[in-house]
């Protein structure tokens, strides 16, 4: 196998060796080039390294600035930041907590994930294993088309079209399964569907293309000899998928779902347009209203003027940042061992 093949066939994330190989080359070259002092090389090296550093610095700065802007407000907070559901920054006295925002954010994102994961898995299998080769490409574009729809349009559709349309379903769920906390009466009216349930469904639709595209790539990399081996042993198509494609792509699929979860946690405008504001605390029901971290911040954005009230929202933003940071780090650590094996 030529080196080119090796480089090309190596999946992303496995390039450390290539990197060190090339690095080694660079070193030799530098040693030789030491005397003439290739200025161009050194300038270029610094330039690219600085650009890489910009990204590292950006993340550090995001955490740092959000923190220093949030701390004064957190110190001035007259209630418990973690357990209070009110978010009152008006009238001079700060009393804000993130309980309800956390509940609404997590409930809507998890609902979206539960709905989107099996469907995305199905789509990825359909596109890579089941769909006729000639059509798979076109079908793939269709799913990608969903990703081309901006979230503000999803918000419009969710609140003006989908919400009213699935209101009867919500009423039925509420009436039939109301004894179960997740489906009990919420703190906003069911009319119009401005609740977590609708938001979760819309988020699920937004996650489909994200989870599908990553999962599809992983499934496509299933070793062909494993697939052919399974088929040669007399496995049916489903048995082949279950014994080769799914075990091979499992970690990639979970990592993709975590990436989707991170996206859902931070989704702003669609959720802001859909959810009705609530005046009482959340009861952990899908039929609650309220706001997520992101939608709360966006809804108050026009009133950012005084440092202390603004800091309260920045504190909420900091929590969201940490939440997505953790979710993405987990996604990465799940995806990584798989890549090393491949």
């Amino acid at each position: 196998m030529s080196m080119k093949d090796e480089v090309v066939s190596r999946p992303a994330g496995q390039e450390r060796e290539t990197g060190s190989m090339m690095g080694g080359m660079g070193e030799q070259e530098q040693e030789r080039g030491e005397r003439p002092k290739r200025v161009g090389d050194r300038v270029f090296r610094y330039l690219t390294t600085t650009s890489g550093l910009v990204i590292v610095v950006a993340i550090v700065l995001i955490g740092f600035f959000l923190l220093i802007k949030a701390v004064p407000s957190l110190l001035a907070d007259s209630t418990n930041f973690l357990t209070d559901w009110r978010f009152d920054t008006t009238g001079g006295k700060l009393a804000f907590g993130i309980r309800d925002m956390l509940v609404v954010t997590v409930l809507s994102s998890l609902l979206a994930l539960v709905l989107a994961m099996p469907i995305s898995l199905g789509i990825a299998l359909f596109l890579t294993q089941y769909a006729p080769r000639s059509l798979a490409r076109g079908f793939g574009y269709l799913v990608d088309l969903l990703a081309a729809v901006p979230s503000v349009v999803f918000g419009l559709w969710g609140v003006l079209v989908l919400g009213p349309a699935i209101e009867p379903v919500q009423r039925a769920l509420n009436a039939g399964l109301g004894w179960f906390p997740l489906f009990s009466d919420g703190n906003v009216s069911l009319a119009g569907g401005g609740n977590i349930f609708t938001a979760g469904v819309v988020l699920a639709v937004m996650l489909l293309p994200i989870i599908t595209s990553v999962t599809r790539e992983v499934f496509r990399q299933t070793p062909v000899n494993q697939i052919e081996g399974a088929l040669a042993l007399g496995a049916t198509k489903w048995e082949m998928v279950r014994t080769t494609v799914l075990p091979f792509g499992k970690s990639g699929f979970i990592a993709a779902s975590m990436l989707g979860l991170g996206r859902a946690l931070g989704e702003t405008i669609a959720v802001l347009m859909i959810l009705h504001t609530a005046t009482s605390p959340s009861g952990f029901s899908f039929f609650d209203g309220g706001s997520t971290f992101a939608s709360k911040i966006a809804s108050a954005a026009s009133e950012f003027s005084e440092p202390l009230p603004t800091g309260a929202f920045i504190a909420a933003g900091l929590v969201l940042f940490l939440l997505t940071f953790v979710v993405n780090a987990i996604a990465r650590s799940i995806a990584k061992p798989k890549k090393e094996k491949a």
Binding site: V7, M25, D41, G52, T268
Partner: protein, 301 residues
């Protein structure tokens, strides 16, 4: 003896019929998997049909692409999205001008130079940055630009927030493209005694150029639809503003969000018209990206 057995053509009893259970499970899986795809098409078709049916009339009105909403009353069927279209494109282009060079250089660092802890940290941070929610990026620019430096809200602040969202996408796609460049090309260049930086600039980058352009267009398409930064970092304006450093500037998402609170029929037509325009704009950028990549993919042979 075995050979004679093998020479005989296989007869039906050799291949056992599948048991009903296995057959049923296989069919069930096929049905479920196809169903999943069909389920995904429902919201897609539903959403696109809604937007087209409710919005096409706005797009064919003569003033839509040539006039702003200056002096137009909320319930008046007049004016257009000229100012918002300009705002969207201006903010996205300024963002691209900053993000694309940094992104390409960072990708070159990761592919050609990066090793050791710094490269690993950078890769990790690119992943984290790609997961940063747009509202957090907007808040950060607010905390830095407006609350610390004391500058006014402006379209440029929006562009800066968009840079944070665009950078990781550019780095990722650019990195992938650079890794596809055959190693022989680099070696051939080194063998001719050409310095590494010149090899990268004159050999590696041109080879990967089309892929990089495609990736940047896709990143641009994603940034066009971002709404959170414009809510936090710039004000709404009814009329055109060409200056990205000063004053309010409307972009398409902000236009939609603002008209969303306008309950009149004219407002409804405007939001769906703007939504259709935005989708078409994003699709146009995606299409350009696809065409570029189709016409000049890296020759891996």
């Amino acid at each position: 003896m075995t050979t004679t057995e093998l020479e005989r053509p296989a007869r039906p009893p050799v291949f056992h019929h599948l048991s009903t259970g296995r057959k049923a499970r296989n069919h069930l899986a096929t049905v479920l998997v196809s169903l999943a795809f069909l389920i995904a098409l429902v919201p897609l078709v539903w959403l696109l049909a809604t937007v087209v049916i409710k919005g096409w009339r706005a797009l064919v009105s003569p003033d839509w692409f040539t006039h702003s909403l200056k002096g137009v009353l909320p319930d008046q069927f007049a004016g257009g999205i000229y100012h918002a279209l300009y705002g969207s494109l201006a903010q996205a282009l300024v963002c691209a001008v900053i993000a694309v060079p940094i992104g390409i250089l960072a990708a070159i660092y990761l592919v050609e130079y990066g090793r050791g802890w710094l490269a690993r940290l950078t890769t990790f941070m690119v992943d984290i940055l790609s997961g940063v929610p747009s509202i957090v990026a907007a808040l950060f620019i607010f905390a830095l630009w407006i609350s610390t430096f004391g500058l006014e809200q402006s379209a440029f602040a929006v562009s800066l927030a968009l840079v944070l969202l665009m950078l990781p996408v550019v780095v990722r796609s650019c990195e992938e493209m650079l890794r596809l460049v055959p190693q022989e090309l680099r070696e051939a260049s080194y063998a001719l005694g050409i310095p590494k930086w010149k090899t990268i600039v004159r050999v590696v980058l041109p080879t990967a150029l089309s892929g990089i352009v495609t990736g940047s267009m896709l990143a641009l398409a994603r940034v066009l639809g971002e709404t959170a930064p414009v809510l936090v970092l710039v004000g709404y304006s009814q009329s055109i503003n060409f200056n990205i450093f000063d004053g309010n500037m409307t972009s398409l998402p902000l236009f939609i969000y603002n008209q969303f609170t306008n309950p009149t029929a004219a407002g409804q037509l405007r939001i769906w018209g703007a939504a259709l325009t935005l989708i078409l704009l994003v699709m146009l950028f995606n299409l350009i990206a696809t065409v570029i990549s189709r016409f000049s993919a890296i020759k891996t042979k």
